[in-house]
Subunit: 134 residues, 10 copies
């Protein structure tokens, strides 16, 4: 058990990664129900739930760093479509995954519910064929 | 953060768009539970829930403008089949999407429930192959 | 808004249609939970829930006329299998759809539950390939 | 059976009543999922689901007239609390019931859900004691 | 076992009763999901589900006769409140029960759902105290 | 362990009892989903689910005997209300319980669902006060 | 409406059929929750729920006759597997359907639940390809 | 309908009220799923869902002002217990209600879920007796 | 942490207890889904789920001993009512609780489901009044 | 926003408190799904979900300290009844609440599920009467 002082947490655009301990294809599923940013037109808060899944290649996302990255948007103005693509782009740039998909489900605004789903596929990567268990 | 006066909202047939911030295929899911128009035969109010999904190409639909567009039908006479096709046509004309589908579920009238489902596929566009996660 | 007197409603075997406002393939789903007719053997009332879906070609079914058509069966003797086929035949004759399916779920009689499912496919019509959203 | 022309429907603040066919205490439960009015500040549409229950005294509410009364609000500006009390007041004035309760559940606005519950009790009226069935 | 010809069924306002085989308080619960009558204003069909419960005194309702009684309304014009009270009145007149309650839940009409609940208590009858099982 | 030949089972009106092994108030809940008898008017089979609960005094119902007793009705004509009271009367006569309640839920016949609930309370017996656990 | 005397019902092994009113492929789904027979070893009652679906060719099963056929088993000894196959064989012999499947779900006996599923396919018959609605 | 410019929204500790349009006891239920503040110890974001119900006396809470008041906490450090009491105190000070209750359900932190429930009762106010509908 | 050899487990009628560490009223809820014994008439296995709750006085039931006690019934013939009372008696004898209730739900046998509920109340003990949380 | 170093976390029997910011009666509900300790007999891990609710008097429990206190049990041997009472005793000693209740639901061990519920009531404290909202 490590009892030294835990590092100070602060919002940050930096995404830390660590080496993927495995060469095989496997999937990491992450749910982030506490995303909030600001509407660029009115400055009012927006809220969303993010669902991320990816198949890592050489790098994995460090989770405390991901928390700080999500936190960074708290004071940023961001359109639904743009911020969903931006988060995927940043995560792809940091980890170069074999596959990654982000679904962002925004709280209702003006009586309208919006969900944006973006995905990245590394060139040449193919998902393994489905397994039908005996 | 921009705190200047928010623009006045009013019903409008105009659909504003903005440039799609991404070239990749991704999907935008929009639910509009507050659609209302008038029956062209009797003048009485009709109500429906709309579910829209699309894969944008160069243009995305601006949501506040979509709200005003939906609002515009509040005083219009409209048959179920015609208005469902009209909304899809208008949205396709404004955004030229790669794919778009609209489902309109109307409240019961005369003991009959009606749902109309219309879709548009850009010539040559194909949906990406399904991914089977490991 | 048209506020003139609404037409008088009465049971009728006539099915009114109107020109399909669109050339594209799309589907119309109609649920009719209030179907009732008479048992041809005993004269006692029978009840059923009808679910109709169709892809129109040149004609759509006018809903008020459909309601009157359904109403017409209220005083008719009708066997389960025959009436299900008869309704589909009448709707196909009136609208010549690309595709149509009718499911009729009858209330329990003598401890037995019956559901009849009938469909029509226009020669040469093929349903569009499934779309896998990104 | 009366098959003459049905009367023209139009929005109206008038509430028609008819004589209660019974002297006993009994309850009438009415759900109106299609209430819509306008926000008095912004002019934008508001939507609500109304649930009404009452124990009539000498008058009952005529349902077609109630539909037209609800329709009348479609073009009126109305605050949540005021309109809920106004509807109850109008219904009480028209029918002088022994008991009446209205619950109005408004669609989310600005991330906030509101429900207003108002009730009227005629002086001296008491609900009957509960029955415990053998 | 009696295999002679079953009696002919026909709609009828007559309610047959038979002597209650017991003196004790007990309850009979009856659900009738297939009630239909006509709207007295428009002549169009109305549908409802009836739930009846009663504590018989000297007479019980004969079920086949109840079915024919319900069937009788198929061609009658009837307002929601009046018909609910009428059915209770007829059943009370035929059986003089210790307690009886009728709930009539009508299908949606004009976007409005209605349920009418009426009950009869014989003077001096009291429901037995609740039992708390060990 | 007794491994001698199991006794032959046959339908029987006899109800066997055995001495209640306890003086305290306690409850025995028995569900019998497989009750069937014949309609005395038409000779056709009827089906019901029985739910029995009782607080025994000096005698308990022997279950195999109860099964044979229920089986005995398989070839008997029986009206809903009469058979429910008859079964309770027989069980009370056999066991003289402190409290007993029988609920009989009959399968739908002619579109009508019926449930009969009968109970017996021994004079002077009172259910124990409810316990509120800390 | 035919109000003459309804025919006497009695258990019978005869299955009546009537000419299929249609040449097209369609399906008839029948649920029979009230099947009962006797265990051939012990003579005790067995209970099952039957689910039947078929695509008729030239003959349809008459439902009242089916009820009498099911009733016939009430006094017959029958093993689970044998009776399921026997019923399918009898129905196939009577109607020569294009396709038929019977599922028989027996009530628990000795702590064991049993379901038997049997089907028949007419030589050369093929089910139509699935339709993907637009 | 008033279509002039809507007022600029900004976070604010001010709570606007408006005169209660009614003297009767009635209840207003408000759900606020988008509350967020900062942990005073670590500066990290906290999230909660607030449920408010009150019986107004002379003043009602203006909803847009409530939204801005909730928004104000976005950049404030606040302990769970203190902020729940603070919000109730502010709302009571602004509206002097007859009754008010606030429930604040905080998202999980360190594996621990917390909900704080606070209420205010005006001296001498009593809730009306419950109504048992016939 | 005590890592000495765990004692050998074996079926046993002995019930071990340990001193209740507290004087206050509190409740211990124990669910035992794996009770099995033998039918005294046929020698066949019976299965039941036991639910026990008690307010201890000076002694608590040791759980491993309870498991062995339950295990002991595996080879015992036991009637439903007798064994339920026997288990309660043994537990009361061993712990002299302030309150204890046992519910035994037996698996279906011969199409009949049985549940026995027995309880013990120490003379003079009263459950504390219910708490209504603010 | 305070971004200085967060304090080091470690298991600890110390419970920190802070002054209750309010004099009124209110309730704090805390769920702790991650409690684990060791079985004192076998040394094997035990798991439980704790649900705590209390009405504070002068002191509230500091949550981070509560987390460390719960963490402390990870390496302690603890019987179910004793540890539930011990935790309540420690929390009562630290905060002297007006009311406190702890429910500890332990994972199945040896086929037996156990839940212990303990509560503390300060002498003379009474819960407020229930409110019936209009």
């Amino acid at each position: 058990m490590n009892n030294t002082s835990s590092p100070v947490l602060a919002p940050s655009r930096e995404l830390e990664v660590f080496p993927n301990p495995q060469a095989r294809d496997y999937s990491i599923h992450i749910e982030i129900p506490e995303f909030t940013c600001l509407c660029p037109k009115t400055g009012q808060p927006d809220f969303a739930e993010l669902a991320l899944v990816y198949v890592p290649d050489r790098q994995c996302i460090e989770l405390k760093s991901l928390k700080q990255y999500i936190w960074w948007y708290r004071d940023q103005g961001a359109f639904h479509e743009a911020v969903s693509n931006q988060i995927l782009d940043d995560l792809v740039a940091a980890t170069a995954p074999r596959y990654m998909r982000l679904s962002a489900e925004f709280n209702v605004r003006g009586g309208i519910y919006t969900r944006v789903v973006v995905e990245h596929r590394a060139p040449g990567w193919q998902s393994p064929p489905a397994v039908e268990l005996p």
